[in-house]
């Protein structure tokens, strides 16, 4: 491997994901921004909502693994070495964190709109 630059990385991902390449980061940013907005608005974390979001997050982790299994026609049960477990953990982690933040933000935005909610 001679050169290993970001351009090749992007090109391959563009080819692999198509428009999803831009939709996924957009979703991530939207989630983060609304999460931050909700935090600022409420001046802190609402712990009950956080717990609920974490439950959604755990499911999100499994959903991410399910998606990978579908795309690769295989599954984490095929993991055969340390790097595989790392990958499984990474995919699960991304799904968990992403779904948690998104779930928290969505609930927050709804609560914001209907201030009697909490």
């Amino acid at each position: 491997m001679k050169e290993f630059d970001l351009a090749v990385f992007l090109v391959v991902f563009q080819e692999m994901l198509g428009p999803l390449l831009w939709i996924l980061p957009a979703l991530a940013i939207a989630g983060l921004v609304s999460f931050a907005a909700v935090l600022l608005h409420e001046g802190g974390l609402v712990s009950r909502r956080l717990v609920r979001s974490e439950i959604v997050g755990v499911l999100g982790g499994f959903a991410a693994l399910g998606l990978m299994a579908m795309v690769t026609i295989s599954g984490f049960s095929d993991a055969g070495g340390p790097v595989d477990w790392l990958l499984v953990g990474l995919i699960w982690g991304v799904g968990l964190v992403g779904a948690t933040i998104l779930a928290y933000a969505v609930q927050g935005v709804f609560a914001w709109k209907a201030p009697h909610g909490h």
Binding site: M1, K2, V8, V12, E15, M16, G80, G81
Partner: protein
Amino acid sequence: MTNEVPPRDGLIAGLDSPLSRRRMLALSGAGAATLMAVSAPARAAEAPPKVATKAHIVIAGAGAAGLAAAARLAERLDGATITVIDRRKEHYYQPGFTLVAAGLKPQGYVVSTTADYLPRGVTLIEEQVAEFDPVANKVVTDKGRAIRYDFLMVATGLHLDYAAIEGMSTDLIGKDGLGSVYAGPAAAVVTWKEMARFAETGGVGLFGRPATEMKCAGAPLKYTFITDDYLRRNGTRGKSELIYTAQNKGLFSVLIVSEKVRMLFRDRQVKVAYERVMTAIDPGRKIATYKTPTGTAEFKYDFINVVPPMRAPAAVRNSPLRWQEGVWAGDGWMEVEKPTLRHKRFPNVFGIGDVAGVPKGKTAASVKWQVPVAVDHLIASIQGTTSASVYNGYTSCPLITRLGRAMLVEFDYEDNLVPSFPGVIAPLEELWVTWVMKTMALKPTYMSMLRGQA
């Protein structure tokens, strides 16, 4: 094989340097796995200014190598006339054939249209080159059209010589337990049907490879492993016998890989018959005949994956471009310099991809490394300068060892393993991550390569 030592270049040194290793480690996990795919090519350094020229460049063959070369030349030259000649309208993503023949992907996964990848300004002539005349700097097509060139890139791939096996014809593929993953997208589909039927009933499965050079030497091994896995999943492995016939005393040209495969075959109870080269097949009686060091041997089969001898296409084989002597003369491979892919006797001619008479590497991964180097040298010739670009023989093969796992095997001209991710993804280890790459990232990387972007 010659003993000539190719010049060492920065590729291997670069890989070993702590900096590049750290960079790779930083990108570990899914991202890294995706990227390594067919391994990043030698890219032209930050888009140099276009080279103005009136040169006429002819590219024979619009497969992986021809299209990638056309894209790169069109990108870097201004005013050149670039003509691509290929009769076949469809483009085949051949590394996907194995997945089709494993029942995991549909036929459409490997078929697209050549014209879709043609860079703007490049002319496609939908004919076949019938004659190469490098002395007169021209090619003649099957329609009798003579085309002169200043530079020629030969990227005709190779010829699958089914006729060399007595009794064999591509019409037999998909009938009576006879499969052949190589013959094309439709053959891959019907091979899957035959293999799936075999996996339900069990019986004797026969695998092997030809004695000639071949593309993707791992493919016959992969298909053996995949069939073994399907038999196990169906509970028919116990009443089955899988036999792999090797053309010599090894299972792979790189010794360390050969040994690893031997151990895997032992683990999966695949029997190996060494020094067996298929010479004939009787599809009615389901018997394949092999040449052995002492005579002939016959094997009965219920399912067979026929991998035919491979040679340079007739137009190249019958031309002055072929090796004149040595191991590659017989099958007509092109006589090119190993580090540059430039023809040894006709300096305005390059041979890239499967047709090149160099050791190892008839893979799309090799193409990815060869094309930028050959293009650099061609453009240097146009400019009257020289180029320092070197191809070190890099080739790679994600060797599927069961459904859901593969081993990444990467090596060079000298049989050195050249892992792209040392310390992260171990070579010769059966991993899911390698399978993930094969199914997710390989095709996008290949497609980007066709467009000259990767």
